[in-house]
Symmetry: C2
């Protein structure tokens, strides 16, 4: 069975080659007019400067963390010296490799994404289809690199750490890889999220409101920083986030597989997560290749229909293809690997079918999440229109309605998660394993593995989703470049359509991110309990008893950590934005020629200084929330012990899921309510009552109206919610799991 390790390794390499092919496709396109190149160069330099400095900081923090983890595991874990040395260096090395892979995937993905934007702008001068191709494939580089490097890293480390000879020990040695990925992701997402919103707030508050110039106007000193921010927040941040998801899910599922390996002596249970991920990569590649210029309708042939919506349908079809192929893939993988003769399924149905069904549940959950997110954040549905109606009575009601909606919109995603967890557990628990000597079966291993397979199913489409996500900042930037380089109206129409599309896909991937984090979390808890069992050899470790006061206290602290961390993340934006606002004001004051009446008299503002200030502000501001996120679980585990730590982990994860949905969807709904008004859909009758979107009889309240101003306030409030705090919570809940997995030996040592 061990030869099957070649599937993930070879598919991983092929996916890297595929990413290289996509990159060469994109980089080979023409880079547009001189004006376009000038803007694109400024964005490129800013983004790369930020990324280099950010990664320098993260690298220093990572080396420090690796040394610390190694020291702690060497001095404060059970076993003989050999064993402790081995644990310490394996973990530290895996940590550094995980951190490095995450960094490399982020760096190259970003590089290509930033290079794609002027090429997209240039393609938009020719056709929508070509522009869509360039931007989607530019985004896909990041998507495929992230998943491929995560898969390769885990597969190769597993092999290198002796997984094929002692498969029961290796997974525990590679948990460091997941922690490294989480560690980088936390700082990448926090730093990127703070950067993007600090720049955005600075550009909007001073430029749009105080100086009264339009969005993306070249006179705004913060405009380049703002465009850079879209890349570093959405592209690099989400890339690191999903790198972490895939790595943590793979490792957690392999740890669960160890228990089943011990019961069946069949390596398939450990290799299964890697093979399924490999199949998912293939499914994603085929789904992506389906989207090509010939399936898109050009604006001049759209016959009144919105070309953006048509293009979205094509992206959706690509996604459906990926999902359908994933279902085949998960069944094929189950058939290949989960067919141990000693394992039986109820009703005479073999195990691989039960697990294939569990995987299908996960795939369906990803689709469900996409639709729920759409309902809560797209202007065609009730929620956004409710906020639009609330803008008629001013900013206060806009905020209240938005927050009420944000509270409300936690319900459906949670019910979907609960349904998927329950159903996949049920399906998995139909499978029975031979009992293992010394292990009391207090939990249904089949059931837990069922939830793991569902998680794998959900994450199969990860590369495609990431391609759609990175597509967002590329099209946003292409729009900015088109605007700043003064292109024709028809070109702007194309980039506008793509930009709207990008906003939708960005919101969807956030929903996907939190959904997959939620599923992965349950699997990681279970893996943690398995690790505890490996140390303590008592089935008591499988109890995380809320009636135990230390578990209760730790859980309450975990929930509060989520709130406190969100506070720090939001405040960090405020701190960084403040410096930005002061700098933009200073430039307008000291260099009045920026705003000269005649275009010939104008001078360019000092974009680079704004980029630099945003960079320094974001890097400084990300440290405190990062430290709090890392130290709180460690402190609780050290003081209250491993079971309390499990309580913290579980309840913090629940809190993270609910609060992230609150923040993401609330922010998204405000954003789209503003867009709804800007698109001219807000109409009132002569009594001031809002009319239906399709009723064209009343007065339009559009840009610059009072409701629009209220909606801008709502959007500004939502910005740090949806782009900083919310996405950082996705990362945080996985970080809590991986840090707990890595430091489990410490907690066990202190609380034997």
């Amino acid at each position: 069975m061990s030869y099957l390790i070649w599937i993930p390794i070879s598919v991983g390499f092929l996916a890297v080659l595929f990413a290289a092919y996509l990159a060469s496709y994109v980089l080979g396109r023409d880079t547009g007019t001189h004006a376009m190149q000038k803007v694109a160069d400024a964005i490129f330099k800013g983004a790369m400067a930020f990324l280099s400095r950010q990664y320098q900081t993260i690298a220093l923090l990572s080396i420090f963390a690796a040394l610390l983890v190694a020291t702690v595991l060497y001095f404060l874990s059970q076993g003989g010296q050999d064993q402790r040395v081995s644990l310490a260096w394996h973990t530290a090395l895996a940590f550094l490799i995980g951190a490095a892979c995450s960094g490399i995937a982020g760096y190259i993905g970003m590089y290509v994404a930033v290079k794609s934007n002027s090429r997209t702008a240039s393609a938009a001068t020719r056709s929508l289809g070509e522009a869509l191709m360039v931007s989607l494939r530019g985004g896909a580089v990041s998507g495929f690199l992230v998943v491929a490097l995560s898969l390769l890293g885990v597969s190769l480390l597993f092999t290198a750490f002796g997984g094929l000879t002692r498969p029961d020990l290796a997974p525990n040695l590679i948990v460091g890889f997941g922690f490294g990925a989480s560690f980088v992701a936390l700082f990448a997402q926090l730093g990127g999220g703070i950067y993007t919103k600090a720049a955005d707030v600075g550009a909007d508050l001073v430029g749009k409101i105080e100086a009264n110039i339009p969005e993306d106007d070249p006179r705004n000193p913060a405009v380049i920083a703002d465009l850079v921010g879209d890349n570093v927040g959405d592209c690099a941040g989400r890339g690191a986030d999903l790198f972490e998801s895939t790595a943590a899910e793979n490792i957690g599922a392999m740890i669960l597989g160890v228990g089943l390996y011990l019961a069946t002596r069949d390596l398939g249970w450990i290799l299964f997560p890697l093979v399924v991920r490999a199949f998912g990569l293939i499914a994603s590649a085929l789904g992506l290749l389906w989207v090509r210029p010939s399936v898109v309708v050009e604006p001049d042939k759209a016959a009144g229909r919105d070309p953006g919506e048509i293009a979205m349908q094509q992206l959706n079809i690509g996604y459906w293809i990926t999902c359908a192929l994933s279902v085949i893939g998960v069944f094929a993988g189950s058939y290949l690997l989960l067919n141990s003769p000693t394992v039986t399924g109820n009703y005479g149905i073999p195990a691989w079918i039960w697990f294939g069904l569990a995987g299908t549940v996960g795939i369906l959950l990803s689709v469900t999440f996409v639709y729920i997110t759409q309902y809560y954040t797209a202007g065609t549905w009730r929620p956004v229109r409710e906020i639009a109606a609330a803008t008629l009575t001013g900013p206060a009601t806009t905020i209240i309605t938005g927050i009420a909606l944000a509270f409300e919109c936690t319900a459906l995603p949670v019910l979907a998660i609960c349904g998927a967890l329950g159903l996949s557990f049920f399906l998995g628990s139909q499978v029975h394993f031979p009992t293992i000597a010394g292990m009391v079966q207090v939990v249904s291993f089949g059931g837990i593995f069922g939830t793991a397979v569902a998680t794998m199913g959900m994450l199969m489409s990860c590369a495609y989703i990431l391609a759609m996500d990175t597509f967002g900042p590329i099209t946003d930037n292409a729009g900015g470049i088109t605007e700043m380089s003064g292109q024709a109206e028809s070109v702007r129409d194309i980039t506008d359509a793509l930009d709207g599309l990008g906003n939708t896909t960005k919101a969807l991937t956030k929903g996907y991110g939190i959904g997959s984090a939620a599923l992965a979390a349950f699997l990681l808890f279970s893996a943690y309990l398995d690790v505890l069992f490996a140390y303590k050899k008592t089935s008591d470790v499988y109890r995380v008893d809320l009636a135990d006061i230390s578990v209760f206290i730790a859980s309450l602290i975990g929930l509060t950590l989520i709130f406190f961390f969100s506070s720090l993340a939001i405040r960090a934006v405020g701190a960084a934005a403040k410096r930005m606002i002061e700098e933009v004001r200073r430039q307008f004051r000291d260099t009045p020629k920026i705003m000269a009446e005649r275009v010939e008299d104008r001078v360019d503002p000092d974009y680079a200084r704004c980029v630099d200030i945003s960079t320094r502000g974001a890097l400084r501001a990300m440290i405190l929330p990062g430290i709090v996120a890392v130290l709180t679980p460690v402190a609780v585990g050290v003081l209250l012990g491993p079971q309390a730590e499990a309580g913290l982990l579980m309840v913090a994860t629940m809190g993270g899921i609910v609060l992230a949905v609150f923040l993401n969807n609330g922010g998204g709904a405000w954003d789209n309510a503003k867009k709804y008004i800007e698109a001219g859909y807000l109409r009132v009758d002569h009594d001031g009552k809002m009319l239906d979107r399709l009723d064209t009889s009343g007065t339009v309240l559009g840009k610059k109206s009072e409701p629009h101003k209220a909606s801008v306030i709502g959007d500004t409030v939502g910005d740090p919610f949806k782009d900083t705090a919310g996405p950082s919570l996705h990362v945080l809940i996985k970080l809590l799991s991986t840090i707990t997995l890595v430091l489990a030996p410490l907690y066990v040592f202190l609380h034997p």
Copy 2:
């Protein structure tokens, strides 16, 4: 030992007499000028009309609920027919008595409170000391009635249901009392909270902003409704809330006492909660009597100091006296009742000292909570000033900063709760009980009883706290009456000082409410697990295992329920406010004479119609959130079983604690940032930077400035947070506990 039941019964009756004495003191004061009486009458009529209609609705719902509970328990519980009949009718009867007692306490308390406001206004024409006396004693009527009726109800029911002969069975029969109290409290708090904010928003948005007339101006049609709202929200709502707290805590602690009774055959463990509560009533009465006119400094003799702050110090001294006497009381109670010879304490220290110390921890927690709340909501500290500074950059930053602070301020209260829980558990666990045949001691009974004693300690000062709370709406109304009846500046100064004081005390009692709810919750969980044990006789029931998928799913649903319920509560305000806004606008439009230039030409607006619309709107809007709150836990318990229900209960409680602190303190901070600006403390230098509060060099940005407008928006957003959703969450988390306790037999029957 059973003769000790006479302590709570006689102290309860004495407390009712004390309340009657206070009421006669207040009602005997003069009712002020004719103009004052006119306004006061309108408020009285409005408040009583609302209360009558609200209680009618609640009565109908209660009768329906009682019948339903009786039916369910009869048909769907274990045991012979006799047993089931007994359980059904005892529970239903206790439910109705609990509901009725809560209603009576609320009604009489409100009656006296509303009668107190014109008397306070009249007293303010003479002196601050007298006005303080009238308003505080008017508020104390409600405080003492609530606690006394709760104590009497539980004590008498316990005796009537055979508690002195079969003390191990009676507590389970009276859980209905707690559920009845919770049921009434939920609707009272929701209805009152919706009413007060709908009226407030209507009065502010149309009156203050659109028609540009000052606060409490008689031309505003919604002004009476607004004043009524202060009573029905803060007074009746919080009264029902704390009635529920005391009832639920008593019953829960008695159920825990049953286990210790079975171990020691000593009735003291069951009677202890009642006796401690009785001692708390005495302590509160003595603390209250300390506050008298001679300890207050009149404004003209204050020598530059703020007379409101001096008066606050006196209220604080009264509170400290109550706390000090409570410490003595809890030790005395422990000595009297917790001295079973078979019970031993570590280090040779007797059990009553360990439990006395645990009670002291609870009393200290209540003090801690008061100070933490003050830090986060008073203008003298960083948080409020941070919001004030954020108003300089507009409404968006005001909201963002407020929300960041609201997220932040969850940390300290939770740490305080965790510390108190851990410490009191530790102190209690130093006590050892003889083992009981058939019961495996999986949890430390002493430890859990320690947390129960801490809760009792915290709730000893309940009557005093409630007096301070009800004092808030009385002084607020007195201020309104003074304004509307056109009194002299010096009178207005006194009522302003009292009003500011009332705002502080209202915020403090909310902190106290959530703190005591949090402590009571842990005790109620434990009581629920004891009830399960009584049915299932297996120590497995003491495990609430988060690693069990059904517990995990139920917990996640519980957490989401908190968010969803908050959404419904906030939206209910919006729905009710909308009708109010339309009505006020209509009156201004249809009756232009309301706003006539010359005072002689003016006609009074139709206050009664606004009161009526607010009433109907609030009653209609409270139904949906109420139903969701009741049905969700029942559905989860029925579908997933009693252990999953325990998970829902615990995690929902954690979520409720954290989110209620978020909503209460966030709303309070915005409110006080507005007051900070209105008081003229916001000063900026010539660069627009905020100066320190005591630095008088810069420009004052006061009322009508742009920052003030931003602060008004913040305050409006915070209103439904702190006065509707937050307080309703206090009630919700206790309702979840009592409903679970009552329906435990159903869950056990369905999942044996």
